[in-house]
Symmetry: C2
Subunit: 175 residues, 2 copies
DNA sequence: CAACAATACATCGACTTCGATGTATTGCAA
DNA sequence: TTGCAATACATCGAAGTCGATGTATTGTTG
């Protein structure tokens, strides 16, 4: 998720680490903040893998700025990660939202639609957080108000997302 | 999140590891599966901390069952984690849902309400995933259909949850 | 003019998690 | 009857993440 965000932001423009950090904080920081101690090693990993390059410039600030840019391999890798997301990128909302934030960089509408369809399939499966034997329980069946809340909120999210998915898929197909 | 689920399920009844694994999978597995390689070390940690005990019984299955039970300290620790959740337990939906699944074990309605109020405060803050300068952007302002989707879905979730929170808080206060 | 926040890096050890692998038994289906 | 799925543990190394800490400069505010 962190790496996807780094690749996604750098795809849009070269940035130095501090700016990248601020953009990631704006994107997902209110939900799940990313520590600096995670960001710099992640940048290093991607650099080592040849996905980005670092150019040192005598900075306006204190330390010299390291401007980070994606390489051709890095741009290809972003597109690959967007086109072939892992299962948890589809199911985990945090990851899914991060993916959606950069899905525009996947140029082919067909490929974009294919990703949305995976999410559609996931949301269409009968699933719950709570079961009676094998049967998923509905909100109305829960006595516990807190567990009922989980199901009510999940249902509202699911409905809104299914409506949006169907509409957007129709638009993508129309062209 | 994993530790909270372990404490939560064992609070309800003593279980052996395999059963615990299945319950955790049912609760959150469709969204974010937990590897066995995470579960057993987590159980060990909690055991070492004196929060649970392990009783070996000649099992019906292959290996002998290790029945896990919470100690008094373990029960107290669950209540403490429910009453004083970390900030990300409030903001991250995965963690928040796990917390809600066990919030009934916090006996005092006052304490339950206090936790819901923290979530209410978080959801009431003006926040977005996307900004123009400092100003959070609304769904209607987004050109990118995917980013618009993120905001539309988040808004639907937020509305449903706020309605549920207000209703449940009223009930808790009414007694 | 002193203190502090913000800018701009970076590292380190501790801890957590993951994926792979291993052991052994029961029961069912091909 | 052979093999596979399910039951029921468990470990190990690799990798990732976090929180704390450190350095140095600029700009702002009291």
């Amino acid at each position: 998720m962190l790496e996807l965000a780094i690749l996604g932001f750098l795809f849009e423009a070269p940035l130095h680490g501090y700016e990248l950090r601020k953009r990631i904080a704006a994107l997902t920081g209110h939900i799940k903040p990313v520590a600096e101690g995670s960001l710099y090693p992640a940048v290093k990993r991607l650099e080592k893998a040849g996905l980005l390059t670092r150019e040192t410039r005598p900075g306006a600030g204190a330390a010299p700025r390291h401007v980070l840019s994606l390489t051709a391999a890095g741009r290809a890798e972003l597109r690959r990660r967007l086109a072939e997301p892992a299962e948890t990128d589809i199911t985990d909302e945090n990851r899914w939202f991060t993916l959606l934030a950069f899905l525009r960089h996947l140029e082919a509408p067909r490929a974009q639609a294919a990703v949305l369809e995976r999410r559609l399939a996931f949301l269409s499966e009968p699933a719950s957080f709570f079961y009676s034997g094998d049967r998923p329980l509905r909100a109305e069946e829960m006595d516990d108000p807190f567990r009922r809340g989980v199901l009510l909120i999940a249902r509202a999210t699911s409905r809104a997302e299914l409506a949006w998915l169907r509409g957007t898929l129709a638009e993508l197909r129309a062209g």
